[in-house]
């Protein structure tokens, strides 16, 4: 009897109280999430992360909490914690595209390419392309395929492009030049030495690979061929270039040393103009998966079969630093120096000492788009007074390039690019400007 009365009169109130208490807890919980999200928006991500972290053991598995936790942790640079929170979010809501994309962003931030590749294709399409975001290959190159996993691999590409070259023969714009000797006649240039502009088509193909011998030793190689054909009057500057390297690589911990032999062939309009052969030593020090130092020493014999006086031995050393940021952007900077020593006796004026600076970067704009830019500057001081112009030649060459990368689908890349070269030289005939605009389509395989 009493029990029935108690159950009728007391239990409803208990239920109401319990429900109200639950609501209160839920309200407080939501308040916690809202507070954390507000902190993230205010740029106080670490504070938001700490706020949520204190409650994680109790609230893990709550999609709202896990989503906020993922956002706060990611913004605070706690990428592993963000992955864990977003995995919980996704486990609770498997079809949630937002959760998948968020998880993909955190996986990219730690360099977990396998995790990214395991996500559905539509999610990958909404992320920074793995090819563009996880390599520095707009400026840098690698012997390994991304999915090689430390094993032997071979990769290649084919590239077709069209472009316009304002100065195909790198000629001075002016045709008649003042003589350096007062009172003497002016100089003039033959017509083929005048700046010649033209449209062109270019085809290029390349192979790079590594054959792993054991955990430390491997054989690496590169073969690249390119042909450019100009239209109209500039077709006498059609050229073909072939380059190849073959070397032995040794790696240990963060270091990799590569010694390679190099060969190069350059033909102008079907006639051999230059060949090169030499050795290249490279030392790569990988600070971590995102930062790297690279240094090199190169000794190269540059030969001009029909202009033997121009033959030089080029010796260059340099170093560079490259950085891959967690958002997929990348940057590099480098410095180098050396000399080109003329091989013929008495031709010191054709050899030079050089040093240069290089910098560049790539930034993702959208999932399939990125912009890149580079700037190179090189100073060359030649070894003697030019007998023709009676001055010592000094060149200051600057080159800037700006372009876009569009990755319509994995393995494909479309690159419009503009490049400007300015060589300020004390010799009027080597003082030139050159502008090249090109669009290339590249297929990697």
């Amino acid at each position: 009897m009493y029990l029935r009365i108690w159950s009728r009169r007391v239990l409803p109130w208990c239920a109401v109280l319990a429900w109200g208490g639950g609501l209160s807890c839920a309200a407080r919980a939501d308040e916690l999430v809202q507070q954390a999200l507000a902190l993230v928006q205010q740029g106080q991500a670490l504070q938001a992360f700490r706020l949520l972290d204190a409650q994680e053991a109790q609230r893990a598995g709550d999609p709202a909490f896990d989503a906020a936790m993922g956002d706060a942790a990611h913004a605070a640079g706690q990428y592993t914690r963000a992955i864990m929170a977003r995995e919980r979010w996704l486990a609770a809501q498997p079809g949630n595209m937002e959760a998948q994309v968020a998880l993909g962003q955190s996986l990219q931030a730690v360099g977990d390419r396998r995790g990214v590749m395991a996500l559905p294709a539509p999610v990958q399409a909404a992320l920074i392309p793995v090819d563009a975001g996880h390599t520095l290959d707009q400026f840098l190159y690698s012997y390994d395929r991304l999915d090689a996993g430390g094993r032997s691999s071979l990769k290649g590409y084919v590239e077709l492009g069209v472009g316009h070259d304002s100065n195909a023969n790198a000629a001075p714009v002016v045709g008649d030049l003042q003589s350096p000797v007062p009172g003497t006649p002016a100089w003039a240039l033959l017509p083929e030495a005048l700046a010649t502009s033209g449209n062109y088509v270019v085809a290029q193909a390349g192979l790079r690979g590594r054959a792993v011998l054991n955990a430390r030793w491997s054989v690496v190689g590169t073969a690249v061929g390119a042909a450019r054909h100009y239209g109209g009057g500039a077709d006498r500057f059609d050229h073909t270039a072939l380059d190849g390297t073959l070397g032995l690589a040794w790696r240990s911990e963060r270091h990799e040393l590569i010694a390679s032999g190099q060969g190069s062939y350059y033909a102008l309009d079907g006639t051999r103009l230059r060949t090169m052969g030499g050795v290249l030593g490279e030392w790569i020090y990988r600070i971590d998966g995102f930062r790297q130092w690279g240094s090199f020493v190169q000794v190269l014999d540059v030969r001009y079969p029909d202009q033997a006086l121009r033959n030089v031995r080029r010796s260059v050393v340099g170093t560079s630093y490259s950085h891959l940021f967690r958002n997929g952007s990348s940057a590099y900077g480098g410095v180098y120096g050396g000399q080109e020593r003329a091989q013929a006796s008495g031709a010191d004026a054709l050899g030079h000492r050089l040093w240069g600076l290089r910098a560049g970067g790539q930034w993702p704009l959208a999932p399939q788009w990125s912009v890149f830019a580079s700037a190179d500057w090189e100073h060359r001081r030649y070894g003697g007074q030019d007998p023709f112009f009676a001055v010592t030649r000094t060149d200051r060459q600057a080159q800037v390039a700006l372009g876009l990368n569009w990755t319509p689908s994995p393995g494909w890349r479309v690159t419009p690019q503009w490049a400007f070269t300015r060589n300020a030289s004390t010799l009027p005939i080597t003082d030139y400007e050159r502008r090249v605009f090109s669009i290339t389509v590249r297929r990697e395989f």
């Binding site: 486990a91 360099g111 000797v181 003497t184 006649p185 955990a215 600070i287 340099g318 007998p387």
Partner: protein, 325 residues
């Protein structure tokens, strides 16, 4: 990592430990999340593992094909287990007081992602993840470990540095790097790619001003004679203007003579073939300045005559015989 960052991270870990639920103090770990099929084997007993369950040394966690679990340890460390994993807490001792720290877990199959806690900070040497082929030691704080169907162990670093050891030795793995352990007899192999900045390119061989002829002279440059200043007025019947006299530049092998033109070439020279030799250059349209007539074909250069006078005066040569009849 700067000392400030280290202190911040340590403070964060201490905060995480402070937030540890009182109920979990006696256990090594607390399950904070499960999804799918996750089981706990304790001794001979197999039971379903759910959120809030406690773990102790010797416990084995088994995840099914869709199973996932996240475990928070008493030192603030976290472990996320992925599908088809078998994870054992081999030895766990949180020596926050005077005791000794130990965090030894065993992953027999599957995969795990881990974030180390205070044990990994205080006593990194005693933090180990043992797999069938490798032992992962910790010098950092976050890593991913996976064992594939062939038993190969894949380890990647996500924060700071860890070390992965086999019987052949150890390698360090930092954030963004990964290694593959093929067998316990071989060193782990790095799997991340190393990208190289290409070596600076040799200047293009096409620079017009760099071309030299067979005698080493600037192949594309010749001298345009300036009209000789004649103070007397021109005769009533103007004589035909003198023909231009292109002059080849001197070879660079000679001794530089600033201010002095080079001696005349003994014979007509032929420019080198930096451009297509069989194609004559376009004539008149790109002719030199009006003071001269169209330049001669580049294949043949007429002789030059210099009469050095102070200052140097260039005189035109007599007209070529074929022209005068």
């Amino acid at each position: 990592m700067t000392s400030d960052q280290k202190y911040a991270r340590l403070a964060l870990l201490m905060g995480m430990v402070a937030a540890w639920p009182l109920t979990g103090l006696a256990a090594a770990g607390l399950v904070q999340f499960t999804a799918g099929d996750v089981q706990l084997r304790r001794g001979e007993t197999l039971s379903r593992l759910s959120k809030g369950s406690e773990l102790d040394g010797g416990d084995v966690v088994l995840t099914g094909t869709e199973g996932r679990a996240q475990i928070r340890f008493s030192d603030g460390g976290l472990v996320a287990l992925y599908p088809d994993s078998q994870f054992t807490v081999t030895r766990y001792a949180d020596g926050a007081g005077a005791g000794e720290d130990h965090f030894v877990v065993n992953l027999l199959r599957g995969g795990m992602r881990a974030l180390t806690g205070l044990i990994g900070k205080r006593n990194p040497a005693n933090y180990k993840v043992v797999t069938p082929t490798a032992v992962v030691g910790i010098r950092g704080s976050a890593f991913l470990l996976a064992i594939d169907a062939n038993g190969q162990v894949f380890v990647s670093g996500e924060q700071d540095e860890i070390e992965v050891c086999t019987q052949a030795g150890c390698v360090g793995v930092t954030a963004g790097e990964a290694v593959l352990v093929v067998s316990d007899q071989d060193l782990p192999v790095y799997t991340h790619t190393r990208a190289l900045l290409p070596v600076p390119q040799v200047q293009t061989p096409l620079v017009a001003g760099d071309q030299v002829d067979v005698q080493g002279r600037r192949a594309f440059v010749y001298i345009v004679p300036a009209p000789v200043p004649v103070p007397v007025p021109p005769p009533p019947e103007a004589a035909p203007p003198p023909a231009p006299v292109p002059v080849s530049p001197p070879p660079p092998t000679g001794t530089p003579q600033p201010g002095t033109p080079a001696p005349p070439a003994p014979t007509p020279t032929t420019p080198p073939p930096p451009t297509r030799p069989t194609t004559p250059p376009p004539p008149a349209t790109t002719a030199p300045p009006p003071a001269t007539t169209a330049p001669p074909p580049p294949t043949v250069r007429p002789p030059i005559v210099f009469i050095p006078v102070l200052p140097i005066i260039l005189l035109p040569p007599p007209p070529p015989p074929p022209v005068i009849r």
